[in-house]
Symmetry: C3
Subunit: 280 residues, 3 copies
């Protein structure tokens, strides 16, 4: 398979964590500054298929915003597109910072809040019509690490989404990280025995749920991951409605190619399918 631009972006999204530009405030708090730009962006969502999307920073999903609980998150949002947009972060913050207010074309707004609670969150545009603003591509993952870091792991970022190409309110293409069958063509390399941690969210519009199924193995699932004493679910199949998200911890016991996909056959066959390749 040709390593097209869309495919490159999907692979990059797996491990590209945007920690912002770090500084320290007078009170000792860590401040993280991020730049987010909404833009009209044609993205490649499968070999030869372009989607007339709206994006944060040029990709669908947008950048994975990452920080540590207690950090000051400061997101300078500039609307470089032709429609009003915003950024709605999940998690705790002042309701003034919740992205309900539209930021007009050419305008900017700075979202600022202390990051909490530790866990796996998401962000997305919150301007009506909401189905359109989300479906067009304005979403991404938002990870708040606990102050006491999670165990070291091979960490991966995944966003489940869909694309409605003919505007009938139903998706024809489903992906993880924006590109159909990305990790079928380029399996995700992991090491046998290492801890693999997946930050997974569902931003699929139109369909009521999406899901993640792993072959030949099981994983621990922490919904949101905000409760440090929560007991994970041990399974190989979880479902999420839009806006739900969680943390998967997986150990691959032997070498080989482990398929993963939605356990809705339709979604899997329309692109939401890939492989982990475990090497000794």
């Amino acid at each position: 398979t040709e390593l097209t631009n869309g495919l490159k972006e999907a692979i990059k999204a797996l491990t590209a964590f945007n920690y912002g530009t770090v500084s320290t405030r007078a009170d000792g708090k860590t401040v993280r500054d991020y730049e987010m730009i909404a833009m009209d962006t044609e993205v490649e969502i499968a070999k030869g298929i372009k989607f007339p999307g709206w994006s944060y920073n040029g990709t669908i999903p947008g950048p994975t915003i990452r920080c540590t609980e207690g950090d000051i998150v400061r997101v300078r949002f500039w609307n470089g597109s032709t429609h009003p947009h915003s950024i709605h972060f999940h998690g705790i913050h002042s309701p003034k910072m919740d992205g309900l207010e539209p930021v007009a074309s050419g305008e900017e707004f700075i979202y600022e809040f202390e990051a909490k609670p530790a866990g796996m969150h998401v962000y997305h545009c919150h301007i009506p019509p909401l189905a359109k603003h989300i479906h067009k591509g304005l979403y991404g993952n938002f990870i708040i690490d606990p102050k006491i870091p999670r165990k070291p792991a091979h960490e991966l970022n995944m966003v489940m989404n869909g694309y409605d190409l003919d505007l009938d309110g139903a998706n024809e293409v489903y992906t993880v990280n924006g590109y159909a069958f990305a990790f079928q063509a380029y399996p995700i390399e992991v090491k046998v025995g290492e801890l693999v941690r997946v930050y997974l969210s569902n931003l699929t519009e139109f369909d009521l749920i999406n899901s993640f199924h792993l072959h030949a193995n099981i994983f621990k699932y922490y919904e949101v991951g905000a409760d440090p004493d929560a007991r994970p679910i041990v399974t190989d199949t979880i479902m999420q409605c839009q806006g739900q998200r969680g943390i998967l911890e997986i150990v691959f016991p032997e070498p080989g190619k482990y398929m993963f996909h939605a356990h809705q056959s339709e979604f899997a066959e329309l692109g939401w399918m890939g492989f982990f390749e475990a090497k000794a």
Copy 2:
């Protein structure tokens, strides 16, 4: 926004708990008597939109039946409508009291059982065609308080539902407590720092799930709430299929308007959206 009758009922449903008429049985048990009447009722489900519903006691959702574990619940059900109906309660009781038996137009039946288990339940009509009898509006919440009361809280009752206006088997209007955008027009007032407890159920017909998402905050979610030692999920988004229900515990950390809505964009934009307004 004009405080129409439908809107008034939605607001009232938030805090109207029907504890019945209380008496004590010879054996010392508390008996609670409730009157429930099925009727054909045109209800206002949004500004200027009427729905030709079937209701218990004139409202959709019906009254919130509330009692304490171990109480004798005695519901005198009179069918004042033109179709056979019944009341099916969730929870434990004799299968003779489960509402499978139709109560003919003009007839009555007394449902009597000891309330258990403590937790958040629902009731609805169980006469076929079931999709029609539920969709028309014959449902409500049924709360059984534990003998050792839950912590004091500002308690709220919410039922998620939908309305199919053109009889195509799909909903065009979605609400919480029966009236579209009720709590957008009239935000639910809460106090900063107080414990807010929401008894939430999904009685939406036709759609496979519904969901509750809170802005700028998180909550603890107890599914059903029948296990006193259950560890809640800490999240801002939960989903329920029809008949599922649970208890949310929320504390608002600072003043402001906190949006809540289904995280299905369609449902939110068709009416299932509101605000908590937290005041210092």
Copy 3:
């Protein structure tokens, strides 16, 4: 109701656990040999309704494969049908044994792996088009008992499924164990006070979820059942997306007929409905 062949098979599937042919390997491991044959099979799915299915061993769902954690499971799969097929087991095994490889018409393949983890799993064909190969009927339950057995119980096997009769990608008939209203006609007999354990899975194609609701009672739900220390959910209604499964533990407190069904009205009314009959 006439005890037709389809109905007989649904009843049989409740308690038919296939433990295979047992032998002991040189290293002392228990080996269980199973024979699975894919075939084109017309099955009766409701009184007078035939479905042109694909089956394992002649029934939809296929046999319930059962073993104990640590056993060597050896499944000789022969494809006696006119299409390529496979068996994909959930659970842990070598990815070489995951059923991605098609087994051609007239060919055979032996799936061999050590059974783990203990819990409730499923199997199904994994040949594209996946929606078709699953929907046609190639699926069943796969139970791995823990080495320390679960508490003795009256054990029952249930698979939720659906049938698309007019090939429009939507189901017209829903069942548990393959036959519409099977356990309405023939209620499942249980004893008051005994522990009833249900191994329940969802293999319904096309619909995003399915669910199980019990009348007049509650149950404990263990998702997958792979975590021996997991705290069950106490409820009367659970949902599963395709591929999800779990273990229900129920005690019926008094004699009577306890209805159970999907809490999607449509599914219940199209066949996914039955009764437990508890006897003193």
